[in-house]
């Protein structure tokens, strides 16, 4: 595709590498990637009579920004919940860094380096921005109940974590807010905080559930910039979005879901011209709108309550 090969030299190095790696990947649903970090097979989940997710095969390329798009109710969030262990599939196997992880508790997946955010931002409102960040740091000895009462066993680690948190908050322009309650931040700032907090864990892949939802347009650009930076630092990004235009600028690869299934894959430009994709989007505004919305409702409430 000309759009991809055009000027790889002018691109940021992370982006260039991702584009390069994905150049020869087949533009078909479930196509194999050269260096997949996440591989899923036969993942399905049913709510009542409705199959919310039914994915035969999918691979996510390491070091790239992959967008998971689709109309409302396509099962994107449900797939997210399944892959991150927040919901249990009816069937399915998937591996993370070649380790089978189906059925693992969500906190274990997070520790392994697969960290997610939520569609409805989960900033811990009655805690300060700094406490939110420090909660993200992994392997803290002060989190063990017996060591908690002996501050000298964890003070040094706490200082190091605080420094790292400051550095991250600086990048996300939140460093002036460290002592504010997270609940007092604006919607966009909460999204930024949640993203920064996820990075505190030190993930290999961050999975962002609609990072742009509810963010005012002025902030959207800077949010997109932050997501790109995450990739440039070598972290894989997978994000869910229902607005096609939003993904065009930042994603290296796009996976399209509709009615629980993956219907197309490819670089942004190619995917957007795909008649099947256009039909899925248009179709969702017409005939199948009702059932698809129903699925979305169930899926979303799942995400909210599990």
């Amino acid at each position: 595709m000309p759009a991809n090969t055009e000027n790889t030299t002018k691109m940021a190095p992370g982006r260039a590498a991702a584009v390069e790696a994905l150049r020869d990947v087949a533009r078909v649903p479930g196509s194999p990637k050269p260096d997949p970090i996440l591989v899923a097979d036969q993942v399905s989940r049913q709510f009542g009579g409705l199959k919310a997710v039914d994915v035969t095969h999918v691979e996510i390329q390491r070091g790239a920004i992959t967008a998971l798009i689709g109309p409302n109710g396509a099962g994107k969030t449900t797939l997210f919940n399944l892959l991150t262990g927040f919901d249990n599939p009816d069937t399915g196997e998937w591996t993370f860094n070649k380790t089978p992880v189906a059925g693992k508790a969500p906190y274990r997946l997070a520790r392994m380096g697969m960290v997610r955010t939520f569609q409805l931002t989960k900033a811990l409102s009655r805690m300060t921005v700094m406490d939110n960040m420090l909660l993200g740091a992994s392997g803290q000895s002060g989190e063990r109940v017996f060591k908690a009462l002996l501050p000298f066993t964890w003070k040094a680690q706490e200082r190091a974590n605080t420094e790292r948190a400051m550095e991250l908050l600086g990048r996300f322009n939140l460093d002036a807010k460290i002592d504010d309650f997270a609940g007092s931040l604006s919607g966009g700032q909460r999204k930024l905080l949640e993203m920064a907090r996820a990075l505190m864990v030190g993930p290999e892949i961050v999975m962002l559930d609609e990072p742009m939802a509810g963010v005012n347009p002025a902030l959207t650009q800077s949010l997109l910039g932050h997501i790109k930076n995450i990739r440039e630092e070598g972290t894989t990004v997978l994000f869910v979005e229902h607005d096609m235009d939003m993904v065009h600028d930042i994603s290296d690869w796009v996976i399209v879901m509709a009615q629980g299934q993956i219907i197309a894959e490819g670089p942004p430009d190619a995917v957007m011209k795909d008649p099947q994709v256009i039909e899925a989007y248009l179709g969702s505004r017409h005939g199948s709108a009702l059932t698809a919305d129903g699925a979305s409702l169930t899926a979303d409430s799942q995400g909210g309550t599990t």
């Binding site: 991150t84 927040f86 508790a105 969500p106 906190y107 274990r108 997070a110 520790r111 960290v115 997610r116 955010t117 939520f118 989960k122 900033a123 811990l124 409102s125 009655r126 805690m127 406490d131 420090l134 909660l135 993200g136 992994s138 803290q140 002060g142 989190e143 063990r144 109940v145 908690a148 009462l149 501050p151 964890w154 706490e158 309650f181 949640e194 907090r197 996820a198 505190m200 864990v201 599990t306």
Partner: protein
């Protein structure tokens, strides 16, 4: 009426043995509910576990009081595991219903005729439960305080009780300002967010339940030692709800909340009771009799709990912004 006497009695109550029992339960509940957000409606079961451990070890098995303290802590830990493992993965209201049910279930078991040999049935266990403790009393035999009406024995319990209470408060202070405290506060705010950051939320909840239960068990130990009696029907569910009232009064998730709440609660309750009694006895309120005072006190407790929860869920001294108790 004798204002001096009313005041003396009120102060004696506000800092007395009964207040201390509630205080221990409240410190424990503060960890569970205030910081971790666990809706433990069965706190009375942990108090009962402590009291019965003393009763059974000392009276039924004729062993040392000091051993019974160890047994009390083991029992309360087992109870926390028993209650927590099935329910801590479920929604908050399930935990509430299961814990209150379990506390009733245990009360019915210990008061049953079937286990009368061990737990003493409905009469409970009465006898020299705290002898070993009272033998250590360093106060002179004819010691009395100028104003307060504590006996020598009660005063000894009160002194040790308050020292322990301060120690536990210090313990809670240390815990909640550590990274451990940060995790449990995060769980209170949003469990899923904490899970997504790689913390094993279930284990933290269980730890909070165990620690809070252990501190509450000390309330039971104090009860047995001070009152030399353990009776099943004193461990009714309402006990737990009064502890909730105390905690909300002083402010949940505040280190000194339980102490402030306990003293105010008993001061108001005892003061109100004494004032009302003396007004009635002196014929100022004709339509009430002294026996009505008990009911009116309980009515006020209920009303107080409602109004606190509606208008000042952060406690009377709390900061609304920080502590407004929300839930889903």
């Amino acid at each position: 009426m004798d204002i001096g006497q009313v005041f003396t009695l009120t102060i004696t109550q506000a800092f007395g043995v009964t207040a201390l029992i509630y205080l221990f339960a409240a410190i424990g509940l503060n960890i569970q509910f205030g910081y971790t957000g666990l809706l433990n409606f069965g706190q009375v079961a942990f108090v009962a576990a402590g009291a019965y451990a003393v009763g059974v070890i000392v009276l039924t098995f004729d062993l040392s009081l000091w051993l019974s303290i160890v047994v009390a802590l083991i029992t309360s830990t087992l109870l926390a595991l028993l209650l927590g493992i099935p329910t801590l993965r479920l929604r908050a209201d399930y935990l509430a219903i299961v814990t209150i049910a379990a506390s009733e279930l245990l009360r019915l078991l210990v008061r049953s005729i079937a286990f009368k040999d061990v737990f003493g049935g409905a009469q409970g266990l009465n006898g020299k439960l705290g002898q070993e403790f009272h033998d250590l009393n360093p106060l002179p035999v004819d010691f009395t305080l100028p104003l307060l009406s504590w006996s020598r024995q009660d005063l000894w319990v009160v002194i040790v009780g308050w020292c322990l209470a301060l120690l536990f408060t210090l313990f809670v202070w240390g815990l909640v300002r550590s990274p451990w405290g940060r995790v449990v506060k995060g769980i209170r705010e949003d469990e899923d967010a904490v899970v997504s950051l790689g913390k094993n939320v279930f284990v933290y909840k269980l730890q909070a339940l165990i620690i809070g239960g252990g501190i509450a068990a000390f309330g039971g130990i104090l009860w047995a030692v001070a009152k030399q009696s353990v009776q099943p029907d004193t461990f009714q569910p309402d006990f737990t709800f009064f502890v909730f009232t105390i905690l909300l009064l002083g402010g949940a998730a505040r280190v000194f909340g339980p102490i402030v709440g306990t003293v105010i609660f008993w001061f108001l309750l005892a003061g109100f009771g004494e004032v009302l009694s003396s007004l009635i006895n002196n014929g100022y309120i004709a339509f009430l009799t002294p026996t009505d005072v008990g009911s009116i006190r309980f009515m006020l407790m209920g009303l107080g709990l409602m109004l606190l929860m509606i208008f000042r869920p952060q406690g009377i001294f709390g900061d609304r912004r920080e502590l407004a108790l929300d839930a889903r």
